[in-house]
Symmetry: C2
Subunit: 142 residues, 2 copies
């Protein structure tokens, strides 16, 4: 079954696995530099863009909504996030990053070495090629 995969494809898959693993190390290290876990950093990253109902956060993170309750609880206890009522639907609670939360996330993001170190080795042409291939691969034929 696995023999169906040609060597080139398998090598690319393994390389992607390596990228994934390195990305995670960097991300978690950057998060913990700011006393955040990976999950907390990801939620804060979503909320830094716009306030979201708990349910939407769960969809983005592909987990159960009940899980989000605890993560937002911890972020809220540290003043990085707040819960607001949704004027349009009283069942909904909107989680929103506070000013401090946005600031923290921006610092975290800019400390993501992954964004620079490995990519810095690529020429502009390589970066463009990589962008196009990844877009194609992800079906984002914009």
């Amino acid at each position: 079954m696995a023999a169906r995969i040609d060597p080139l494809t398998r090598e690319v898959v393994d390389l992607i696995g390596t990228v994934v693993s390195r990305y995670h190390s960097e991300y978690d290290a950057a998060a913990s530099k700011h006393q955040l876990t990976g999950a907390q950093a990801r939620v804060l990253g979503l909320l830094a863009l716009e306030p979201l109902p708990m349910r939407r956060i769960a969809e983005q993170l592909k987990c159960e909504p009940s899980n989000i309750t605890g993560i937002v609880d911890r972020l809220e206890a540290r003043g990085l996030v707040e819960r607001r009522p949704d004027p349009a639907d009283r069942r909904v609670k909107l989680a929103a990053a506070t000013a401090e939360g946005r600031q923290t996330y921006e610092r975290l993001r800019s400390s993501l070495e992954f964004a620079r170190e490995p990519l810095a080795q690529l020429s502009a042409a390589e970066r463009t090629a990589l962008r196009d291939i990844l877009r194609h691969m992800l079906g984002l034929e914009a």
Copy 2:
């Protein structure tokens, strides 16, 4: 600080983030199809290649050795892995995949849709280009 990153690089970073997230979803889904968690699947994948001391597993997974004890315990309870003494050093326990463990991992690996679906959209030329760029990016100038 974050403003130092040019738009192209930022887009590539975001695309990689998307790839990472998709890779994880696929990997965890494939693992749970075989009643394994992501961490268990990763350990089983390492042991499918060769037996390893607990400490080496922890290094590969970048976590504390005490954490590996529990993961190997659960794999061992299911007969996918066994602990053997290291003849050269009686402090060391070698974790080794059983025949069933290797079989399970091979099935898991071949069910990783990620290996096919998104990559299938790429031409051979694109795959080669992607491989070269990723190698370059990871500093594997083989």
